[in-house]
C-alpha cells in the first residue's frame, strides 16, 4: 500500500501525514505535487491540512481545481481509499467529491484542542476500526460543516455521516460540537464509503508521545483495504 501525500502551495500538515503513515503505520508514502497529472503506482491518497493558496477566495477553492485533483476524482470513483483532513476535507468538498461545505466556526475563533469523536457507521473502512469514542486534535478556523436539511437527511439515510463531535462519554452535547457544525458532523463519506473528509487530524494522533494513538483507528483503513 503506497500512499500519495498531496502537496499544495500552503499545505502545512503534509509532513505530519507523511511521517505518521510511514513511521507509525508502516506504510509507504511519497509526496505528490499538485501539478502532477498521474497517480499511477499509488494505492491511496492523503490530502493534508494547511492553508492551501492562503485560504484565498474560499478554503480549498483553488487547490480543488489543480491538475492532480482529476486523479483524486478517478481514485474516488474507482473505490480506492482517499482521506482529506482539515484543509484536505475543504478541498474534497470544493471539488464536490464530498457533499456540503465548511464555513467559519460559529464563534469566529480558531480552535486548537482535542475533541472526542464517535463513528456513526461501520460500513466504511475509514470507520470500521473505530469501535469506541476516540480523542484526536482539531486546529481550524473554518470547520463548521454546513449542508441543507435535505442533504443532512440524505447523508443520514445513506450512512455517509462518518463522525460526530461528542463528549468524553460519547454523547452529543452543545459544548462538544465546538465549531457549530450542522448536526455535530465532524466527517463525511462519499456514497461508496471509500472517501473520507474530516476536520480533526488523525495523523496527529498516531504515537503515544503525541498524546493519543486514536488516529490509528481511522488511518488503519489503508491497511484494511490492502489486506
Amino acid at each position: 500500500m503506497k500512499i500519495a501525500v498531496l502537496k499544495f502551495p500552503g499545505s502545512n500538515c503534509d509532513q505530519d501525514a507523511y511521517h505518521s503513515l510511514r513511521d507509525d503505520l508502516g506504510l509507504q508514502a511519497e509526496y505528490v505535487w499538485q501539478d502532477e497529472t498521474s497517480l499511477n503506482g499509488y494505492d491511496g491518497v492523503f490530502l493534508p491540512g494547511g492553508f492551501s493558496y492562503g485560504d484565498y477566495l474560499r478554503c480549498g477553492a483553488m487547490a480543488s481545481r489543480s491538475p492532480i485533483m482529476n486523479e483524486v476524482r478517478r481514485f474516488a470513483n474507482e473505490g480506492r481509499p482517499v482521506i482529506g483532513a482539515c484543509n484536505g476535507f475543504q478541498v474534497l468538498c470544493e471539488a464536490q467529491i464530498l457533499p456540503g461545505a465548511l464555513l467559519r466556526n460559529v464563534d469566529e475563533k480558531f480552535i486548537c484542542q482535542d475533541v472526542y469523536l464517535r463513528a456513526e457507521t461501520h460500513r466504511s473502512p475509514w470507520t470500521e476500526g473505530v469501535t469506541s469514542t476516540i480523542r484526536i486534535p482539531i486546529a481550524h478556523g473554518e470547520g463548521r460543516y454546513v449542508a441543507s436539511e435535505d442533504l443532512v437527511k440524505q447523508l443520514e439515510d445513506k450512512e455517509q455521516i462518518a463522525f460526530r463531535y461528542v463528549d468524553a462519554a460519547g454523547e452529543r452535547s452543545s459544548t462538544a460540537n465546538v465549531n457549530g457544525s450542522v448536526d455535530a458532523i465532524a466527517g463525511v463519506l462519499n456514497e461508496r464509503g471509500n472517501v473520507l473528509g474530516l476536520m480533526p487530524h488523525p495523523e496527529r494522533a498516531t504515537r503515544a508521545r503525541l498524546g493519543s494513538v486514536d488516529g490509528r483507528t481511522i488511518l488503519q483503513a489503508f491497511q484494511l483495504v490492502a489486506a
Binding site: L57, A61, E94, P99, L103, E108, V146, S148, G180
Partner: protein, 78 residues
C-alpha cells in the same frame, strides 16, 4: 478594457458568523436599529473583451461555490 463587478454572497439560509460579529459591534456603537449585517465579496475583473457567458462560467467554475453562495454580475463598464 471592459471591467466587470461580481458580487458573491452567502446563501441567506446560512449563518454568517463574521457578519454577526460586525453587527454586534455596530449595536455596541449605538446603532440599536441594526438587526443584521452580512458580509459578501466584491470581485472586479478586467477582460480584453466581454462575453457574458464566459464570465458566468468563471463564476460557476471558481468564483462562487453553489453549495453555499449566490452571485450576481453587475457593473459592466466598457
Amino acid at each position: 478594457m471592459p471591467r466587470i463587478r461580481v458580487i458573491v454572497t452567502l446563501k441567506p439560509s446560512l449563518l454568517d458568523s463574521a457578519g454577526r460579529t460586525v453587527a454586534d459591534s455596530l449595536v455596541k456603537l449605538g446603532y440599536s436599529e441594526l438587526t443584521t449585517a452580512r458580509i459578501g465579496k466584491v470581485i472586479d475583473l478586467e477582460v480584453t473583451s466581454y462575453d457574458e457567458a464566459r464570465v458566468k462560467e468563471m463564476c460557476d467554475k471558481l468564483l462562487a461555490n453553489p453549495v453555499i453562495e449566490d452571485y450576481r454580475i453587475e457593473g459592466v463598464i466598457e
